[in-house]
Symmetry: C2
Amino acid sequence: MGHDKSSEYALSFGDEPTPCSSCAVRNSSLCVALSVDELHDLNVISHRKTLAPGQHHVFEGDQVRDFANVTNGVAKLVRSSEDGRMQIVGLLFPSDFIGGAVWADSDGHNKLSEPYSIEAVSEVELCVFSRREFHTLLRRYPSLEHTLLERTMSELQIARDWMFLLGRKTAEERVATFLFHVSDRIQTLTCKGTQSFDLPLGRADIADYVELTIETVSRQISKLRKAGVIEMQGNRHVVAIDRDRLGELAGY
Amino acid sequence: MGHDKSSEYALSFGDEPTPCSSCAVRNSSLCVALSVDELHDLNVISHRKTLAPGQHHVFEGDQVRDFANVTNGVAKLVRSSEDGRMQIVGLLFPSDFIGGAVWADSDGHNKLSEPYSIEAVSEVELCVFSRREFHTLLRRYPSLEHTLLERTMSELQIARDWMFLLGRKTAEERVATFLFHVSDRIQTLTCKGTQSFDLPLGRADIADYVELTIETVSRQISKLRKAGVIEMQGNRHVVAIDRDRLGELAGY
DNA sequence: TGAACGGCTTGATCCAGATCAAGTCAGCAC
DNA sequence: GTGCTGACTTGATCTGGATCAAGCCGTTCA
């Protein structure tokens, strides 16, 4: 089986570690590229890790050079600088793969060694691989590498779209864009409508992500509410009354 | 040979189209992944295209779904919105590959169809492939796909670092970061020192890239000059008097 | 039941960088 | 030379969103 069930990363549900074939994100994560038989090889090199809300999985430094799939929960991908400033550079939902931030050149060195880390927002389950073993697998299964390439290209485009947001969009557009994207993402995850959804992040994290202050985010949400575009039920639950208008305000 | 020499993209030097094997970026572009023999296959599907300064190579829409290598000159990768706002999301130097912005899913559709384009800064030479043929080649040569994956991961990290710049850095840090990166990039291209170099962009483009106004860029350059960190010879030539200090001011 | 706390909202003021408005300076045509 | 043009610099003023400062409101825990 994939990992030592007595390790600190042992799963909490059941005596047997869950094999990849019954994984919650089997058909939406990178693993779709592998057949049931091939999946065994991935199973062997992976282990599961649970993060409590607020807990970090660090990619900084040289020791931890692993890749991970998010199998459950929501996490932030954070880039920080030495003086304490932080920037959320991505949100990670179940089935998302993370590894780009710690990618190294073929010589094994990472040219740009800025500190990145994953921080759990809710309780998060990761499926972690070591760098070396995952590389071996990539070489063995071209379809896996191809799928990873497609996903990375897509991530790159999302990052560049976000650069546009950070550089050019107003406070209102930023908040509208955030809400629009979250509703979209949650729809594809839950296969329900985009009308009504829970925010995965609190105001402080939203502010970090769209690069505004808590106060400005709060003011913009109030503004969207008063304009009848959205309705809030409590702090976290959003009802998108006029989703088209939300998209327009987001700049689409 | 690779392309019709009577086409509008014909090379300007010599009667015969230059084959890949004598390409200026043969050993630094994506093509390093291919052996001399394999290179022939790339040669067959590629054609060259020259852009005059200011000219665009558009990736918007569905017709033009191609990839390109920059073989000469400097270009901007631009993301624009319908209302006319623009953001430079990347600088392209010789040996850089561009394709992520137009990457489509296996179903042939591009989920996020925001308009991206390449705009030549100096005279630029591109080596262009059609999407479909390049994909075939990727499937035939795993080493090519592997190299592309590495480069894309690296691009993703650069994009995320830039997100930090756009979200968190002050005007001074942005300009210092720009100068620092350009000196670095030009060094690896020319194999000369980083002490002294020409800016590839004018003030307006620098402003677009680091998301400031022309005036603020100009003021920050003056400030760095007065502080003795750099010296300007004319508008474009920079002498990095104290490159370490420049790195510190950039936030490294 | 109430008091302490954390997450959110709202109002008042401030400031980094935008915007507006002149310059300066080099190159170039005549 | 003189005037023109385009790229850059510099100064004065303005402003969107930050910062500072109270509240508000639901939850938890004694």
